[in-house]
Amino acid sequence: MSKTKQSNFLKAYESCHESLVRYCSALAHGKMDAEDLVQDVLLAAYANFDKIKNKDQLLHYLLRAARNRSVSKFRKQKYKATLLEKHTERLVAQEVSADTILEIQLLYKTLDQLPEKQKDALILFEINGFSMKEIAVIQEKSEGAVKTNISRGRQKLKEIMTAKNEWFTQVFGTIKTITL
């Protein structure tokens, strides 16, 4: 029975893994350990797996759980510089180049300056590659609202990046040099 549950859960989770981890990485960036968040979400999902009627909807459940937990966890934790190191170490272990790591980290940091709704919608749309319809289902909102959030989020992201363009390139260059 238990073995079946484990295998069933693993089977259902396999297709969700990439999306969940990317989403958690973006959400948790600089606030908490993404691995902790993923583990938390998985443990909760596993405990309630029997209650999830539509197993195809597991990803939606996981993403919603991750978002809720990230908010509650963020309230409890302070910004930790070591989290960035962990993130870098893990990506280096995955043979990701230093350039890409820094770019991704800067993107996550800039995303963090956006309002929660816009940030969430942008991550799901741009990084996870969900359609607006799917995001609407996950966020339990109308498609129009999602579209607005994505559009405004992108606009704001552009503004932030344009405003900090000089600083951005300077710091980016410096950090790149130091890391290399």
């Binding site: 238990s2 859960f9 693993l10 973006a26 993923v38 990506l91 770019e103 991704i104």
Partner: protein, 442 residues
Amino acid sequence: MKKKMDENIDALFQKAKEVPTEIPFKQMEKMILNFPNHPIPVTETHWFVKLFNLKYIAMTIIPIIAALTFWWAPKANQPEPVSSMIENSIKEKREISAISSKEPIVELTEEVVRKQIEKPATTLPKTPIQATEKTNLIAANIALPKIEPSIPEVKKERLELPKKEKKIFTQPSTLIKPDLIKTEPTPLSDISSFQLKKLRRTLYRNLVSDGIISNKHVLVEMELLGDKILVNNQPIPAKFLIKYQDLTSIVGVGPVRKIKMNTDFVLAGDFTEEGFKGHGFGRFSEKFIDLNPSFFESISLTEALSLKDDLLDEESKALNSFANDLLDKTPEDGGRKRLFAPNLKGKNPEDLHRKLTILLEEDGFINYSDLFGIIQLPKNSIRINGKELQGEQFKKYKKLIDEYGIKHGRNRMIMISEHHLRVGNYYYGTFSGLGLTLPLID
């Protein structure tokens, strides 16, 4: 530039999308396989523990205990019924007699004892004692003196009870706190414009709702004498006295302390023969003062508006006639005329008088022969003594006018003479606005 930024953002998102996940699937797979085989145990708490948790105690039991304590507390203070006290004392005596039997014994019936006990409390209702058996009591130990003091106490309490009840229930609802009645004059404290405005609004609202005045347009004169308050020479009913003392506490009390107000102004302070000393807020018009001379007779404002001083009055009249000559002969617009009061942004009008005089003298508008300056402020232009200002000159006056927050308007003007400054709306002798009259220097 924008396109480039868009491309940059797209490229960044693409990288974030393509980069391998931070945590590999194998790691998560291991974790899942290590999840407990059995369902994660959820500790089943006993129903009793569930029911009587700290929250339950805090929310239910404590209020119940508090309510019960409150309910029983007055009963605990109530005197013990006399009959039960008598019974108790008799029982005590029985016990004492049982211990000491060597002493000479006096036979006393219970009735005798009861009579002895009841003697000082003859006014109390007698409750029949059921017991009829005879009891042996030791004469020396019949502690009548010990019992007796308790009886008058009981009697006292019984007698005081109706008084207490009376105090609670028959107390008049309009009891005045003695500490709130101040009959000695209090020094006049600083009252801000905001407080005066609030005072006027609150007083009008209460006076109307209490039926002391018929409506809020009535001119009100409140005399704050301390032990009583007169509103338009009529004393406020006793039941409202404490309320109005509270409402007017900011003004204080005194034999000449008054509040005079109508919908346009409020004055609070001492009104004496020498003049008014206090605080005021609102708008006045010459017409209003003319219509209510008695109201302003003790206010030096009348003097300030040069109604009594001949010299200043002459100057004022001359200033009016000078302005009349400059006015357009077009009739004034119809409709309801409201009193206008410029807001000089809290600045001193005397400074405005001084600055304007300097400017007007510099530009030759006023001199020894031409004593009056009429600055008309129609829309988007400034006219001084009929001359339209242009260029730098316009800017110079505009700057000063803006500095004092004076706005343009159809009949808006600044009228200035040696001792007068008026800022407001003027139309053939009818002025509404701010008037300043400087004292004559001998």
